[in-house]
Amino acid sequence: MSTNMTIHLRYWRQSGPTAKGYFEDRTLSTVNEHMSFLEMLDVLNEELQLEGKDPVEFDYDCREGICGSCNLVINGQAHGPKKGTACCQLHMRNYSDGDHITIEPPRASAFPVIKDLVVDRSAFDRIIEAGGYVSVKTGSAQEANARPIPKKDADLAFDYAACIGCGACVAACPNASASLFTSAKISHLSHLPQGDVERNNRVVAMVEQMEEEGFGDCSNFGECEAVCPKEISIAAIADMRRDYARAVIQG
């Protein structure tokens, strides 16, 4: 049978982008081991509302680890303690009765706070806009099997394409770099013949956009790979640097 736990929460409150933020504390005594982390926050919000208080805002949608909406930093760790797991798939059985949990938004100047734990990640959209695609118009595609792609290349491309765009890599990086996010898209496309054509332009445009958005540089801390819910390999960043250098030299 499930048992109730008491959890001491400390969470970030910020009423708007320019407001001063602060931590608020509250103890929940009805946390169930089967709850997901976000369901625990639902319970918190129900309690707050029944007291006439404002709920804590946080981003979420699919709650099955694929949409990339949730991005909480839990006790200093993006998405919390479970490896390869987005915080919507983190369950309270990973915690113990009496635990203290601090919840913050990802801290990065390129991700300004909208309210409480909700941040603006539109910088990621603009990085993709800069070149994260194959420029093929609808209707102009050739027969799908006309061009075989070695299985190992397709599989590797998939490993990088699995990125859910949550921003945990940025949150975990001491430099708030978006290198893992950006390079994952570059590596996905450059491992496929369809993406190879625009390889040089893409890497230059995306890397420059990433810098323009105010993300920091990569200093090989490797924190991004450690927190990535899709366990995307940091090898992507090495690929991106090599491609960038080559593209700049080739002009």
Partner: protein, 641 residues
């Protein structure tokens, strides 16, 4: 007077779409930039339409409620996408994909629409591959296929268990390219609250900026709703938390007909509810039923550990009731029977709302390694969520709502009965009849977005004077903006005692119990009464926190739940009208002893299309019937014998 002309082109089935394309009017490239098109929703249908139409030269305005177009719920689709490529050389064809889909839908969809869907399916795969979608491949480097329910051929393309994600990112990236090129004005965190109709035509929308709370007006020459399904009316479903019916419902209240609202598909193998705090349900591939045996204890209230219950005290109800199909009965039968045994008090787990799916015998027969190779990722997912090891004890599963076949009524051009208002993807009712086959939702969304709307919208716009602008201070915009603001103010001013989630959960329970897996006349009548009284309480006793001019997710939810209340009543009315069982709609009065649906083609061979009349305490809707003509296939009773 509403005309229900489906505008199906004349001619042989195989030639209808090509003839129609030949006959449709075109907009010349230099004129396209003079037309603005609003597309609400950025899933497969909306994202694909936005990218394709911007590429053609139309000025597109794209809206989504999430923080990025890439979060649309299409992303969560696991299994795959069907196409009639016949790469495995196993006898597939456009005709066979068409036939399987129309039969799977239990003959409650249009032949011409379904045939066209099968016809364009191959182009979708070509397009996706060209975009860099990393589909599964064989060692030859060619695309891999697998089989799926309801078909005897292998026609499903897939990208591990994340096919929806990869297809959506393909559409999203094509969209982002157009944002960069200036073809798309891109609005995230915006929710459509009203459609604006001027001189009988859709001319714009009202949105709420979800960050600032501002009510915004957007004018255009046509409006496309690609806003997904309404499964969250059940509160618990496999849908994402933000999925809702509001855009479609508000359009319905402005005159767009809502078709087949009671057709809802329930998936049999989901991880069960663990308690009241549960916020959503997670689906596991139904392939698990290939090796798992479904059972419940024979004795009520038997709370022994499942491994301690001896063989003769286990009720393998599917194997006993359906000896020939056993655990592999179709989705609807499996779901229905799980509910039946739980209603009898035989359900397991803390809530009594679950049945066992047991791999003990399969592991004994094949070894743990073989089972792990087949289902390892699903077993891991289950262990993570349920906290139990499915290798050493049975899984607990329960059915969950995951797709709605009903939606806005559209003609062959995907246009609603309101000129200029189109609906695409799960938001329309068009192609799946009373039951959708696996791997067909992605196909339909992308077909609508990439290949149908870009053609049919031109046919409509060709008759619209380019550059027609009424201005957003037009009376119709004023009124619609005021309606949107009023409903928000009203919700915030109630200041009651019960939370929004509490109301939604209670509504969901009514809908699940009485308009869910199986329905009865009495149950549906009770549901209508229950929904009305709960809705009355909602409007006097709900507590909506926060302010209107700020980010306020609970305020968003409140508006959506208010719409779900009305939709729920219409679902019950629709189910009550349909005195037959077909596909996912099972009326207990109309079934064989084995629980098979008894269709009534004489009286109910129609699409029910409901027209909103009024809502003064009770919902008033008028039923219009679009009779389905089957010229090319013979109607048969589905059989699982």
């Amino acid at each position: 007077m509403i005309s229900l002309d489906a505008k199906i082109p004349e001619g042989p089935l195989e030639q209808k779409w090509s003839r129609h394309k030949k006959e449709m009017k075109l907009v010349a490239p230099n004129n396209r930039r003079k037309y603005e098109v609003i597309i609400v929703g950025t899933g497969l249908a909306g994202g694909a339409a936005a990218a394709s139409m911007a590429e053609m030269g139309y000025k597109v305005k794209s809206f989504c409620i999430q923080d990025s177009a890439r979060r649309a719920h299409s992303i969560a689709a696991q299994g795959g996408i069907n196409a009639a490529k016949n790469y495995p050389n196993d006898g597939d064809s456009v005709w066979r994909l068409f036939y399987d889909t129309i039969k799977g839908g239990d003959y409650r969809s249009r032949e011409a629409n379904v045939y066209r869907l099968a016809e364009v399916s191959n182009s979708i795969i070509d397009q996706a591959v060209a975009q860099g979608v990393p589909f599964a491949r064989e060692y030859s480097g060619l695309l891999a296929n697998r089989s799926f329910g309801g078909a005897q051929v292998s026609r499903t393309f897939y990208a591990r268990g994340q096919t929806g994600q990869q297809l959506l990112l393909g559409a999203y990236q094509a969209m982002m390219r157009q944002v960069e090129l200036g073809g798309i004005e891109y609005y995230t965190r915006h929710e459509m609250l009203e459609v604006v109709i001027i001189d009988g035509k859709a001319r714009g929308i009202i949105t709420r900026d979800l960050v600032t709370g501002e009510i915004c007006r957007h004018e255009a020459d046509a409006v496309i709703l690609a806003t997904g399904g309404y499964g969250n009316v059940f509160y618990l479903s496999t849908n994402a938390k933000n999925s809702n019916v509001t855009a479609a419902w508000r359009a319905h209240k402005k005159g767009a007909l809502f078709a087949n609202p009671s057709f809802v598909q329930v998936h049999p193998t989901c991880i069960p509810v663990s308690g009241d705090y549960q916020s959503k349900l997670t689906l596991m591939s139904e392939s698990l039923r290939n090796d798992g045996r479904v059972w419940v204890p024979r004795k009520k209230g038997d709370d022994r550990h499942p491994n301690d219950i001896p063989e003769d005290e286990r009720f393998y109800y599917l194997e006993e009731k359906y000896p020939s199909f056993g655990n592999l009965v179709p989705r609807d039968v499996a779901s229905r029977n799980a509910k039946v045994v739980c209603d009898q008090g035989l359900g397991v787990g803390e809530t009594g709302l679950a049945v066992y799916l047991d791999f003990r015998d399969a592991i004994a027969r094949d070894g743990k390694e073989v089972i792990a190779a087949k289902y390892g990722n699903l077993f891991d997912m289950y262990a993570n969520i349920a906290g139990e090891d499915p290798y050493s004890q049975p899984m607990r599963i329960f059915p969950a709502v995951h797709y709605t076949m009903g939606g806005l009524w559209v003609d062959y051009n995907l246009m609603t009965n309101i000129p200029g208002l189109f609906a695409a993807g799960e938001a329309n009712f068009s192609d799946h009849g009373a039951n959708r086959l696996g791997a067909s939702a992605l196909m339909q969304g992308l077909s609508d977005g990439y290949f149908l709307l870009p053609s049919t919208i031109g046919n409509y716009l060709a008759d619209v004077q380019p550059g027609t602008r009424y201005g957003t201070d037009h009376e119709a915009f004023e009124t619609a903006a005021m309606q949107a603001q009023d409903s928000i103010d009203r919700l915030l001013n109630i200041n009651g005692k019960r939370t929004i989630i509490d109301f939604h959960r209670t509504l969901g329970r009514i809908v699940w119990d009485k308009i869910g897996i199986s329905r009865t006349k009495e149950g549906l009548e009770e549901a209508i009464a229950d929904i009305r009284s709960l809705r009355d309480e909602f409007w006097t006793n709900v507590y909506v926190p926060g302010e209107k001019n700020n980010y306020n997710k609970y305020l968003e939810f409140a508006g959506r739940v208010a719409d779900f209340f009305e939709l729920a009543e219409l679902m019950a009315m629709d189910a009550l009208d349909r005195d037959e069982s077909c596909g996912c709609h099972l009326r207990e009065e109309f079934q064989t002893e084995e629980g098979e649906a008894i269709r009534n083609d004489e009286e109910f061979n129609y699409v029910s299309a409901w027209e909103f009349k009024d809502r003064n305490g009770v919902l008033e809707e008028e039923l219009h019937k679009e009779v389905l003509n089957f010229e090319f296939v013979e109607l048969k009773q589905r059989s699982y014998k």
